[in-house]
Symmetry: C5
Subunit: 326 residues, 5 copies
């Protein structure tokens, strides 16, 4: 599905609605140095993308990747065009989960084709923002590549913030005096953090190359901007790294705390039951049927036995309290 | 055992059935630039392979490796031919296990000899696919090497998918409310993941060299195709890496959950038993044989004792419930 | 907020009170080679900093970073000025916590602008110390950069010392014979150590470059001084690394010790209760109502039963003591 | 002790029995290009080796190393001779243990001196094999170095196989339904694996240099052979690495399984005891001495009480079974 | 405090007792090429060292380091002199602890100043040994630097041996059938091992540079000697690395073993108590007061009841034995 397509000249959008099957005509509009076409697609099938590939001369291996999605982030050169794969991330509040999509970019000398997979990571705001800042857009293709990368990585940062909050909640729950089993939640968070890492880590190398101005086809002057993106990527990586470490510690702490609490419970129940064991023995003794048991005939035999019971329990109670068992 | 042998010229198979002992004649068919022979063997013994080695000039150390199998994946140059070792993997549904085989390739200037060990990883589909795509096969030997690598690594991806599913199942079982001991299964999965890694990790360096076009004897133009294989390898590695981490977390989570459940059981049983301890004491008291025990002669002495028992248990019950012990 | 601003010439402060909005005039004072302006700001908003940026030609990306704070430590070149980000750390005794702030430095050919965030890490002492040591200050801008880095890293060392003390306390508590649950405290310390690392680790690369004299705009003669800072950074890193390892070991040790203690308690309680079980059985036996029970009619039947009880308990007691159960 | 000594010329052994103190004469036999002496010693003392050192011009630091043994594997150049240290490993079936020895080689332009420590790793088979393959021995010194390295590393492979089998046994024992404490055995295996690693890891670098033909004094043509040794080393490393990981997992699994089994036992015992608690209470109730207890006078009072006991136990039994507690 | 000072010429000590404040005169004695002064200080204060610094032209940053101690091992160049920091280690038998000191060396073109901190690591034996080996000392300054490094690293080896013994003891204690809590001892050993590592690890790089002859001011001919030191350093590192791993495994094993033992105890106590539960019930039954209880009037009712008790306990005993619970 074509989401949007336009020709840009001197940093301004040249109105030109492109229909499907019409890609060659669109590209032919490029006449002056600096003109370029930005074609945005959403989950195209093989047929749709093949036509685009024919018009723009895209490499079949890259096209296959762009249709299948589920690539690792990477930046590769095929003949005279670049192929950039980005994973997109967004946080779904409803189920506290991180979802992933993908953006594939074909960057040629006079065109950018963006292929988006998944619901998240809409590129429309990035495009509008660019179109409103003619000075930026005037830098041509590189500005578009930067804008897309920047918006994708900004979304990572938001996801990282959400995860930070989730970890804070887990932490609070683990160290709260109330009992709770957070192991499933910790596990899920670890999975999501792993998801984020899979998006972030492989992207660092492409961004480094872009920041260093080493990538042919991207203006070296755009370096500082990609360095900025790389920096944000580094922040996300650091945050997520730290969250993972803290989660592991939190998991260990909770295992230890639960075990301590449970053992405390058992000890208290056992000690409580032990308090009753001696009185029961005393009752048993005075329940014996010996013909010669002087206490049975004492006037205060019964109260004596009762106080013996209470006394023995009291002694045990004090002993248990002192031992920290009750 | 010879599986298949053929001469390829201009991307087409030249019909020529090679018998055993006839390798020299087969090779002599190579006349034009670009002609090459592809000889496929399955678990040959030393004698069989020695004849092949004599005809194609294979290095004795490589031949020994190819007969023994159990090599690590590697790409090595011996004089003017290359020796490539690949581990093959396939998933056996019947026992949820990953099995391994091996493919050894001798790549000379005008021949490819593939030696396959193990049941899996049939090369016939790859050969057929090549023969049907003359345009690809026209690239000569490099196309064959790529086709074999590609089909082997594609099989890794399938295995990784199966393992991913197995891990998902384990995960579900661990966090299910029912009790199950998944430690043996987690252990087995870890073993299988280690198996996959042993196939994948050492192959990365050869693929990188092939992708970079650094390997003499393989066309540098084939680089992007090997880069694609390398990319798939990277995906498998990433998946498998992640599975391992998740399995470790799942194992820890299950140890913790089982321990929590078992302690809960013990606490409930103990608390339940403790409920009966006080009534037993009361029964013991009124079973004592003191001559002076007023309650024994009360009209409602018996119901009084019974309600004392019920009452004390009820008090304990409420207390235990409040403490979260029952 | 402007904290301080001055022009320095030949290592001496030239009195010149700069008002807000007056930055251009301040900079225009720089006339001779070696003159420079040092402008110190505290948590400026975008407007304040924009004016400064206009006067000193700061790069918009760097300015944005300086306003937002929450950067990772880094040293970057934007056109003809440097941008250095440092995290500041201080230890708050009241709540045993490490707090973080940030210092951003813009270093141009004839100016230093320091932007400080957070309460800690006051730069006034560093400035005063410099102004009192004219010989040092005479080295110009590089001396200022060194002085700031040195004072920031010295603060890291103090924080590391405080953390070392905290870890010593935890250690003592873990191995003390009294019982205590230190898991929450260990967790908090790990968090704080992670905080320190996030300040220290990314700073090593900039310091290494400064120490090697590779950074254009900073005098290579200042190398040994930055090497000293780098060395201190290395010490902090080492201390903190070690603390982390020891904390993990301490955590494991405490989990193990608590579990041992709790199990000991349980065993003692159970063994204690078991001592009473046999006498209770004996009492039960002599409480049976058989018409033919010779012991019941013995003269010393009752003392016999009592001594049987005491004897059996004593035997058990000795057995339990020997088994190490009591 | 001199084990064997000989002069080799054109790949053949020249009969010449060397006595102690006679080394200079032996060396003087070397007349033609390609001739070389191979002197084999077993645990010589300082005096013996000093004489050898004098005759062959060995470096004092290397000689000291060769007498003391307990070196790490290494390959070093001293003036015009090489010094190679190899650790030897062998598996002692009797006590399932890996034992270690050491081989030190001095490699000069026309001599090889091998100094062996420990009982294992006899070099005689390697020497005989070489002498029987004149074509190999004709390559001179390099062939000897290769033969020794090859036989040492082959022994590593055998040890690795034995360890693999031991780990398989442990694994089976851990996951067997019978109970066993394998922690001591796992610990011992880990120690032995560490032993193997200490032999294997530091040897990789010398082998890599030999394989690359970078070592002056060793024929670059021998490269593929050393590459083969390096490959075997890599296999041993991989096997041992994997064994270590699996042992750690097996240890964790066994800790978890034993804990689960023990808790199961406790639960069953507790639940079993709990079954008897309620009948005991009932018996206690009907043992009370109230004058007004109607049940006591019922004709079927006794059977009624008994069936009450049986019934209550049965209800508990069913409940416990359903809860999975019995 | 000046420990010793001397001028060395042609490998011999020139008698010359240096008083404090007299350093300049001492240095002036250096007249011929190859002469050098070796001044040994022990824990000098700032004033003492300042005078030395003035006489020998030492860099203020290095002097500050040498007074403060608590540096990380390092080798640095300040103008025309070298500054080498070594950590010294020694094992105090009395409290099984590793203590640390520090040696700082200033190495100029014609002097060595050694500044020692801490009680251990006396340099006198090294100096005497050198003075007795004129041939070695004739190599000048480099021989002194080597001698100091060698004696320091030899002390590391002794410490490593002591730690190895301590770990062996812990290991034995962990796997002994007697019960012991070794967690505190394991923790302490880990701390000491960390101490050793902090001395060893950062020293490897300086030694490597010295061994490679890359350090200006140290004779490249001394390379093999420093390579020897580096080798010893590598051995210590390996030993200590291994000890750490084994300690972690030993800790895990002991946690598991203690837990197993404690659970065994609990099970035995519980099972023992359970043996008495059924006889107690039987006694309770025959203690009931029903008017119609035929057994009570049997002649052998009492023996019957007793044998019922014994029988039921015996059955339970056999069952528990078979289940492995007793």
């Amino acid at each position: 599905m074509i989401v949007d397509s336009a020709l840009y000249r001197h940093g301004a959008r040249v109105p030109d609605e492109c229909e499907a099957h019409d890609y060659a005509r669109l590209r032919a509009e490029v006449r002056e140095e600096g003109d370029f076409v930005w074609l945005g697609l959403h989950e195209p099938d093989m047929d749709e993308l093949s036509e685009v590939a024919a018009a723009f001369g895209l490499h079949p291996l890259a096209v296959e990747d762009a249709v299948n999605a589920h690539q690792r982030p990477k930046l590769e050169r095929y003949a005279d065009s670049l192929f950039l794969v980005l994973k997109t991330l967004w946080y779904v509040d409803a189920d506290d989960a991180v979802e992933t999509g993908e953006i594939n970019m074909f960057i040629g000398p006079d065109f950018v084709v963006t292929v988006r997979h998944g619901r998240g990571a809409d590129l429309r705001p990035a495009r509008q923002h660019l179109e409103e800042h003619r000075r930026v857009l005037d830098h041509g293709l590189s500005a578009v590549v930067y804008a897309v990368c920047d918006s994708v990585v900004d979304a990572y940062r938001e996801v990282a913030l959400e995860l930070e909050q989730d970890v804070d909640e887990v932490e609070e729950s683990v160290f709260a005096p109330t009992r709770s089993d957070d192991s499933a939640r910790i596990y899920t968070l670890k999975r999501e953090i792993a998801e984020v890492r899979r998006a972030v880590l492989p992207l660092r190398d492409p961004m480094r190359r872009l920041a260093a101005g080493e990538v042919e086809g991207i203006a070296p002057e755009a370096g500082p901007f990609f360095r900025d993106v790389l920096d944000h990527l580094g922040q996300v990586d650091e945050v997520v790294d730290n969250l993972e470490t803290m989660l592991s510690s939190a998991f260990d702490a909770q295992v230890s705390r639960i075990s301590v609490q449970q053992n405390d419970d058992m000890r208290k129940i056992s000690a409580g039951a032990a308090l009753v064991v001696v009185p029961t023995l005393i009752a048993g003794i005075y329940g014996m049927n010996f013909s010669q048991m002087p206490e049975l005939h004492w006037t205060f035999g019964y109260p004596f036995a009762l106080s013996l019971m209470v006394g023995s329990s009291a002694v045990l109670w004090i002993f248990f309290k002192r031992s920290g068992w009750l």
